[in-house]
Subunit: 154 residues, 3 copies
């Protein structure tokens, strides 16, 4: 049999000023604000908003329902999740997908995994961490599951 | 010097009915059954079988020797492994690679890593988990290494 | 608005003899020595050296400042890190990025994350591990954070 073959692309994306993209990428029906950067091998799904000056590095996947604030840095190979398989598998109905809210100046290390949570501003997530709960205190978090490691001494 | 440059593609793949693929992908000498879906930036190697209605999401890598059942959901950035480096490095000889068997209705969270194991039907693997042992009891497993978390209450 | 669209490619790379590359890849201002292999969906940044006979598997990201020895095997989805967000976010100034040195015959499992460290020769890093400290004793290391598991019995 012959499969149906679709292709990645940039479809119905609202771009702010001075956005830079390195293709190949798959971006659709999302909003990418001023001065943002999207690296190669990235997918950003529908109903995502990426704030001004935020950078999405290579190999990352931003799923439907994620809101990322301003001046955030999303490392390489970071995967966001909107379906927790809470009934034993995919929700099926996208009404059951859960949103994620990332504040401003949040830096997420490479290969981190972000379950549907809210992360406040001024947070660092360590590389390889798995964030399973909301974070409402600024600081550095790491591990699987991610735990508070220390305050930020800048 | 000039390197030898090869290109990804779809080579000698046996497709069932109504399969959907989002390019770019690298698929070769594998079998993809009816109604399956393969997202972008995915590689599926030789001697892999992906069962009916199973979905392989973006950025995942399905290595040689993996068998995935029906109605499975493989998240984004999931990596399967067939070489355990048991003698301190790559086995060299593919005769030493180990197979993986995934049952039906298995959902694997994004960024999970699956060593060569057997996973029974009706299992959820949490995002970011590292599965190092066979799983023969249905339920939800998470962590590094992955451990039984709870039964599925659907 | 219209974004600035760049494209991946192979730019100012010094290749040794008999190097094999599977496109699409993004390689720039790095050195790739004799008989090395670079799989698809890989990015290798500037000021990286990949030693003879080393293999970089699909979906991996080798950041600026990484030196990889000879006969290494870098699995799929492996992410190297050069910025530890030590002041609460991206260093901004690349002078503050930290280097990584990988010895010879080092095998790094898929989905592993490598912070800026030195790893001696003859080491195996387990799949999904997060390496946060220097490793100066040969052996097998795994977990998040990675810890010594056992010696290599070859």
């Amino acid at each position: 049999m012959t499969p149906k073959i679709l292709h990645i692309g940039i479809v119905e994306v609202q771009f702010g000023e001075d956005v830079t993209i390195v293709e190949p990428v798959n971006l659709y029906r999302c909003t990418i604000e001023d001065h943002a950067f999207i690296g190669p091998f990235v997918e950003v799904q529908a109903n995502v908003r990426i704030g001004s000056r935020s950078r999405i590095q290579s190999h990352s996947f931003i799923c439907e329902g994620v809101t990322i604030g301003q001046s955030c840095f999303i490392g390489h190979g970071v995967m966001f999740v909107n379906d927790t398989f809470s009934t034993g598998g995919p929700a099926g109905d996208r009404e059951k997908w859960k949103p994620t809210f990332i504040g401003d100046r949040v830096s997420i290390g490479s290969n981190a995994t972000i379950m549907p949570v809210t992360i406040c501003s001024d947070v660092v997530i360590g590389a390889g961490a798995v964030v399973t709960r909301d974070i409402d205190v600024p600081g550095i978090y790491a591990g699987n599951p991610a735990r508070f490691l220390r305050a930020i001494h800048s």
